[in-house]
Structure formats: structure tokens, C-alpha cells
Symmetry: C2
Subunit: 334 residues, 2 copies
């Protein structure tokens, strides 16, 4: 896996960020303005989170999809800000649910301000996202993002239900990551096409691109818990393992494990009895069965699907960057 | 205060419930259907809460407003279900934030299922409410309820900030209860008029009715913590007092208190050092300064405003019930 070359990655994301620089700035302005208008404490928590997450990948997708229809107007910008608010709200509540201490190297809001304020701040950002969407007057864009928001919470429920269960089926795992991660990627893309006047076929194509990209991103995120080739991304190795999260590497390894190894997974993932060497032992099992390659191949399949979906969208420079972004995504974290 | 006659109250609410019986049943069906479509655990939590809150007052207002325009169609029913989902979501998160054990005599969801599931279930209900609203295709109704949802979370933040502060100004208190309670009452009414085709003046009138009714309800709710003439309503006396909540009786009493009494409020509300006799001692101070009457008069003022607002709405039998509901509300809890 160390063959992955991080230096050459992210070129397309950078180019996309450059091409959409003004719109991205406008999204940040919109986010800051909305937070400033709220009460000071929400403002503090919101800015902490927004700064911590930083990459604005989902808003970038909304803007990129609109840009393919030459739409650089206010509506995609407002939707992009709404998408970031939904994402940030889920992060806030996720950290409460997971009782996390750190997110991307920074103390989480629940640690700084307490669970109570984190719950309320998440609610505010979520409600604010709908106020933003209303401003576009697009019921269809709103519908797409409301449906994603609904599925995210269902996905998080189901994620808790498969936690500590290495014997989880691939079907259940994919249902969880579809709802928890891929749906918002899909809706971020689709809503951009909706407000820019793309037809139904193009709306579905945009959704398919985002959805498949989201699946690939989640798999890579799962992988990085055991194989973090780029610690700057802020994810600490072993975080998911410590919580006994049922991620793709664990499921695939469980399927191939012998009885002794199965006992290891039961002890570490199900019973959460972990010693200091257990993370390395898990990694050894993954290497024995080529699990990292399997995960990478799986995410590659979704990337192919994502790129194929773009065929139905206009041929623009932006589309080339979106193809590049998808290809490079296997080599990076979300 | 014991002059309040509970026996004669609620006549108008009952008549309203009878007049709108079919629609109310349809709202409940809509709620159950949506919960059934979600995953089992959300279904359990949702039904627990929906059954526990029971009175469907906010949906009733939405339906009643629409009924004044002879609209008994699907749209007000869907909106009414959405309103109940928003309300239920805020109750779920409230109980997490307040670390409550009981709501209306029943164990709270956070006690049965844990904070994690309560946070996620609230998020689901909230997201589901927007999916419902989208179905009415009314951006204006959606806007009104999204704005209320946003204000509720701000109000809850501000409520936490004035907690344990008996010296809170009336202005700050009214800002909190406006956002936390009255806005959703207002939007529940306004959205009903919007989908039923009422004009802007009528929409504002409906909002004013709900908003003022909400203020009165919140004051009565505050009052009942110290003067619960109807324990069947499920609110336990002294719950707010135990948490050091800054409610209207406390603020009004603080303003009139002498130095010794002020020290009592500081000890009990600010420092939360409470002995078994302190609730009664608080009630004695309230009686000394006629605080219960003051609170009742204040809520009466809002009720007059609410009833006045109805003048701009069509003269129907339903309107008479709404007038009655407002008048009776001073004699009951929400």
C-alpha cells in the first residue's frame, strides 16, 4: 500500500478549487455571515467546526456540478453553504454520539463546550441549512438534501447497531455507508444540477457520481484507520479500532480469518479488550490476507462507476477535474 | 390561585378536536406511517415520544387554521405531522440537554435508550419533518417552519445562558420564551393559513395568534412548576426549580425580594444548594408578593393579543373554538 503516491494526488482538487475560487470564497462568506447573525456561542462552536473540517469537499461538488452548466450564480453558492452546514451538524452530533475527543487533530466541540451545547449547535446548523435552502426557492433541491439528511441519521443508527460486530455482512455495511456518507455526496451533486437547470437524466447522473464517490471515500477513510500514509489528514490511526467500529477491513478480514484470528477479532472488536500491541496485530492479519488491496480495489470499482456517470454531463474543463478528483480519491482521505 | 376552575376548562379544545377529528386521525396515521418506514429503533423511540406528548396541540392549530379556509385536504395534514415531528425532536434533544428522567410521568427516551440514540432519533424526526414539508411543495410554509426551527435552537441556547440567574431581565426572559416556544406556535398557525391560500394579512394574523398563545402557554408552564393544580398534566412540581431554571415567577420574585430573600434565590437557583423545604419556601415568597397573580395577568395580556389577531381571519365556528382555546389556556398547562 505504500506504493500510493501522495505527492501527485490532489492535483484535480486543487485545480477545481482554483477554477471555483470566487464561488468558494462566497460560500465561506455565506457561512460566516449566517453564524455571525446567530448568538455568540453558536458562532464560536460553528466557526470551530467549520475551520476544523476545512476542506469543503461537499460544497465544492455542488459548485462544480453547477459550473458544468455555466452557473456561477447565488443559488449554487447558497446550496453549497447549506450542504456544509448539514455536514457540520452531523459531525457535531457524531462526536457527541461517539464521545470523541479529537477531530482532525483539534479538540472536539463536545470536549470544549460540553455535549449540551454540541447537540444544540448541531440543531441550529441543521435548521439554518434549511433556511438557506428555502432561499433558493427550489423544492426539488430541498427535497434531495432533506432526503439525504434523513438517511444520514438512519445510517448512523444502523452504524451503531453493527458496531462491535465483525461478523456483519457486506450488505449491511454498504447500507450503512450508503446512508451515512454517500447520500450526502450524491445530494450535494444532484442539488447543484437541479438549481442550474440540468434535466432529470443529468440530475441522476450527478447523484450517481457523488454517491459512488462517497462510497469510495468512506472505504478509504475506513482503510486509513489502519494504514495512514498521510497523518496530516488529521485522522489518528486506530481511532475506529479502539471504538470497535465495524469497518470494511475488519469485515473482509473476519471472512478470511481462521479460528484463532476470529477469537482475536471477538476479543478486540466485540469485547473491546485491547492491548497495546493489538492494533499492529490487526494490521498483520490485514496484510496476511491482502485486505488493504481488497479495500482499494473495492473503492476503485465505485470510482469507475462515478466517472462513468459523468458521461451524461456536459463536456467541460470542470468535468475533467471531477474525473481527476475521483481517480485521485483512492489515494487520499476524505 | 386555587380559584382557577379546571373543570370548565378545555371545552373549546375538545370541541376543536371533535370538529377536526378525521384530520387529527389522518395526522396520527401520517406520523405512524413515517415512523414505520424508518428503522425499528427509531420507530420505537419516535412512538414512545409521540405517545408521551399526546396532546398534538401544535398540529391541532395548523389544522384549525386551515379549517377556517375550509381546507381539510392532505397538505395541512402533512404540515401538521411535520410540526409534531419538529416539536418531538426538540423534546428529545431537550431531555438530553437537561438530563431529564421523566416527561409527563413517563421515563424519557434518553433514560431508556441512552443519549446517543436520543440525539440521533431527534435528528431523524427533524429531517423527516422537512421531507414531509417538501411534499406540500409550499416554499413559504417550509420557510416559516424552518425559521421557527432555527429560533427554537437559539432560544434553547439562550435559555441555558440565563439558567441559574434569577437576576435575568424580563427582556431576556421574553426573548428566550419567544424563540423557544412561541415561534413554533406561530409558525404552526401561519403555515396552515399559507397552504390553505390565506392572504399575507391573514398569514400574519395567524402567526400573531399562535405566537401570543405560545407566550401565554409558556408562562403558565413556568407557573405550574410551583403551583400545579392539575398533576394529571404530568409536570412534576419543582422540576424547573431543582434545575435552577430562570422562569417568570423567579424573575418577578427576585425583583421584589428583600436582601434575605435574594440570598435565598442565590443559594437555591444560582448555587443549586437546595434543602427539602426550599420549594415550599420559594412558594411562600411567591405568595407574599402575589407572583402567581402577576404571572397569570401577564399571560392574560398575551391571550388578549392572540384573540385580537383572530379578527382578520374568517368568521367560522372553528374561530370561536380558537378564541375559547386561548381563553381557557390560562387555566391549563400546555
Amino acid at each position: 500500500m505504500n506504493k500510493l503516491n501522495i505527492k501527485n494526488s490532489e492535483n484535480s482538487v486543487l485545480k477545481l478549487r482554483q477554477a471555483l475560487g470566487k464561488s468558494l470564497e462566497a460560500v465561506d462568506e455565506e457561512i460566516i455571515n449566517r453564524l455571525n447573525k446567530s448568538i455568540p456561542l453558536i458562532n464560536d462552536i460553528g466557526k470551530h467546526l467549520i475551520n476544523a473540517s476545512g476542506k469543503r469537499l461537499r460544497p465544492l461538488l455542488t459548485l462544480a456540478m453547477a459550473a458544468q452548466f455555466n452557473d456561477f450564480s447565488k443559488n449554487p453558492i447558497i446550496l453549497a453553504a447549506a450542504v456544509e452546514f448539514i455536514h457540520t451538524a452531523t459531525l457535531l452530533h457524531d462526536d457527541v454520539v461517539d464521545q470523541s475527543n479529537l477531530r482532525r487533530g483539534k479538540k472536539t466541540a463536545n470536549i470544549i463546550w460540553g455535549n449540551e451545547f454540541s447537540v444544540l449547535a448541531g440543531d441550529f446548523l441543521f435548521a439554518q441549512s434549511f433556511e438557506l435552502m428555502v432561499e433558493t426557492k427550489s423544492i426539488n433541491a430541498l427535497s434531495s438534501l432533506a432526503s439525504a439528511a434523513c438517511k444520514i441519521t438512519q445510517g448512523e443508527f444502523q452504524q451503531m447497531q453493527i458496531a462491535n460486530k465483525p461478523e456483519t455482512s457486506l450488505e449491511d455495511y454498504f447500507e450503512v455507508i450508503s446512508k451515512k456518507t454517500a447520500e450526502l455526496f450524491g445530494a450535494s451533486c444532484k442539488s447543484g444540477v437541479i438549481v442550474s437547470g440540468g434535466n432529470i437524466e443529468q440530475q441522476i447522473a450527478a447523484y450517481d457520481y457523488g454517491f459512488n464517490l462517497g462510497l469510495a471515500f468512506q472505504i478509504i477513510d475506513d482503510l486509513m484507520d489502519f494504514n495512514n500514509f498521510s497523518p496530516k489528514m488529521g485522522k489518528n490511526m486506530g481511532d475506529d479500532f479502539k471504538l470497535g467500529k465495524t469497518t470494511l477491513p475488519v469485515i473482509l478480514a473476519w471472512e478470511k480469518s481462521n479460528n484463532i484470528e476470529k477469537k482475536f477479532w471477538i476479543k478486540t472488536i466485540k469485547e473491546l479488550k485491547q492491548g497495546p500491541k493489538d492494533l499492529n496485530k490487526a494490521i498483520e492479519i490485514f496484510k496476511k490476507y491482502n485486505i488493504f488491496e481488497d479495500c482499494k480495489n473495492k473503492s476503485q470499482e465505485f470510482i469507475f462507476e462515478a466517472i462513468k456517470s459523468l458521461e451524461k454531463l456536459p463536456n467541460t474543463e470542470i468535468k475533467n477535474y471531477l474525473i481527476g478528483l475521483a481517480k485521485e480519491s483512492v489515494e487520499r482521505s476524505k
